[in-house]
Symmetry: C2
Subunit: 231 residues, 2 copies
Amino acid sequence: MAPLPGWKVGLVSARTADSARDIPEATVARLPVYLRALTTLVDNGTATCSSEELAAAAGVNSAKLRKDLSYLGSYGTRGVGYDVDYLRYQIAREIGVTQDWPVVIVGIGNLGHALANFSGFRSRGFRVVALLDADPDRRGERVAGIDVRDFADLEPIVREHGVAIGVIATPASAAQDVADQMVEAGIRSILNFAPIVISVPDGVDVRKVDLSIELQILAYHEQRKQSEATA
Amino acid sequence: MAPLPGWKVGLVSARTADSARDIPEATVARLPVYLRALTTLVDNGTATCSSEELAAAAGVNSAKLRKDLSYLGSYGTRGVGYDVDYLRYQIAREIGVTQDWPVVIVGIGNLGHALANFSGFRSRGFRVVALLDADPDRRGERVAGIDVRDFADLEPIVREHGVAIGVIATPASAAQDVADQMVEAGIRSILNFAPIVISVPDGVDVRKVDLSIELQILAYHEQRKQSEATA
DNA sequence: AGGACTTTGTGAACGGGAGAACAAACTGAG
DNA sequence: CTCAGTTTGTTCTCCCGTTCACAAAGTCCT
Ligand SMILES: NC(=O)c1ccc[n+]([C@@H]2O[C@H](COP(=O)([O-])OP(=O)(O)OC[C@H]3O[C@@H](n4cnc5c(N)ncnc54)[C@H](O)[C@@H]3O)[C@@H](O)[C@H]2O)c1
Ligand SMILES: NC(=O)c1ccc[n+]([C@@H]2O[C@H](COP(=O)([O-])OP(=O)(O)OC[C@H]3O[C@@H](n4cnc5c(N)ncnc54)[C@H](O)[C@@H]3O)[C@@H](O)[C@H]2O)c1
């Protein structure tokens, strides 16, 4: 009955029980990067790695990595490093991708097709359960083995599969309406590819991906580099 | 010769000359969002807007918006607001999208096709000048009116068009190699869609877009919402 | 067993960004 | 011209996130 180990285990299991109180948002955003790096290491047959190695694979500072991991618990061994497979499981559990999340994609145009065909969904904790489009001409089309269905069927599909996450790949003009109906149907997490700010009630999370914004940020820095080179 | 107007113009042109010294990175990342919102307002025929209105359209706090804009100069009028078209031009100039940037896309698979067909490039300051793929079967294929060419042609294309920005849409296994060759060819800004951290020399900017990471961040919050609901 | 060595986990200092609050500056009515 | 009303630009404070630096905790060799 050594006091320290007992206390430590108690603390760890306490954290596990109420699933880690408050993880900073910046850390949450990096956990998937660590998970990806660890999966690569597992595939390479690496059994153990140091914070330095993992940090390099994830493209971050090793001190930041260690601090991030410390929010989850003490999963490393001092003098040794981390058990790759064990740590990978712990992070996957923390993120919540030990089981697959059902996802619907709305707007099966250029981008929607690419998303539907994207094989990385399944391996990373997600399962596309429906493809929806408002255009009747899209109906009946099969994309990646899934029938494109009427957007009006959203609500029963969400109910049937317990869908919590929706992806918007419609034109910007339709995005707010699609989001409203997703919320109405019970979806509380939305990934929006349309270049517009959509507003949702409290309790609903929206993340956006905007290609043009990323390019424009690059353009800004590129412009500065070029004007410096001229000067 | 009123002293105040003269002084103000002097200050603005001074800032314009050395192109706004140091704009915080967080602000740079929001300028494209403001630009997008302003373009929408212009399309709606709005001539003037307050920081409150623009902030709402951009999904940010109005104090933050005003502070961001203050880094560019004093483009508003107290008691009135901002001239939408004028401010839009100033932000576009600051970002560097008053002319089009030539862009190459490498990896014309599912995602590459969608990107090539994306019409928003042109209107937002970018022009796709080449589509490249290593697969000989892709050669000769025409996507969005552009011939898919051999990845080996990268260097002459970059030189001919003065390409500064490259987009990687290949599998992760090829991404580092593609990035190396882009840098070799003279590209100094890269947008990476492959789920891997790529390393580049100093002076080269990389931004990444990773769908799985975004979904996993949503999954984390969704998991917490659901476990809270249960408790 | 003991001591040198390695690596984690964390306390503390630091820097940057977010937001509240207000003075300065402009408009327009009387 | 003056004054009330409006909205910007900026200062100030607080908080979050990053990074340094080191004690604690383990391994491994002798
Ligand atoms: N294609 C890209 O690479 C790319 C890149 C960045 C951003 N985007 C954005 O992603 C979105 C989709 O782009 P795209 O190129 O696939 O456009 P698209 O026009 O090819 O496809 C849009 C699809 O949405 C469907 N749709 C329209 N209104 C709908 C509604 N109310 N409900 C359900 N479905 C509806 C249309 O029928 C169409 O099939 C756009 O907002 C675009 O700006 C696309
Ligand atoms: N499809 C999506 O919606 C989606 C979403 C998120 C991320 N991604 C990522 O984007 C990347 C592309 O996805 P995809 O679905 O289009 O894959 P894909 O397999 O359909 O296309 C990849 C293309 O890259 C080409 N390629 C391979 N090696 C190359 C090389 N060395 N040089 C030039 N070209 C090369 C292939 O010939 C192929 O045409 C992947 O890394 C994927 O993980 C895709």
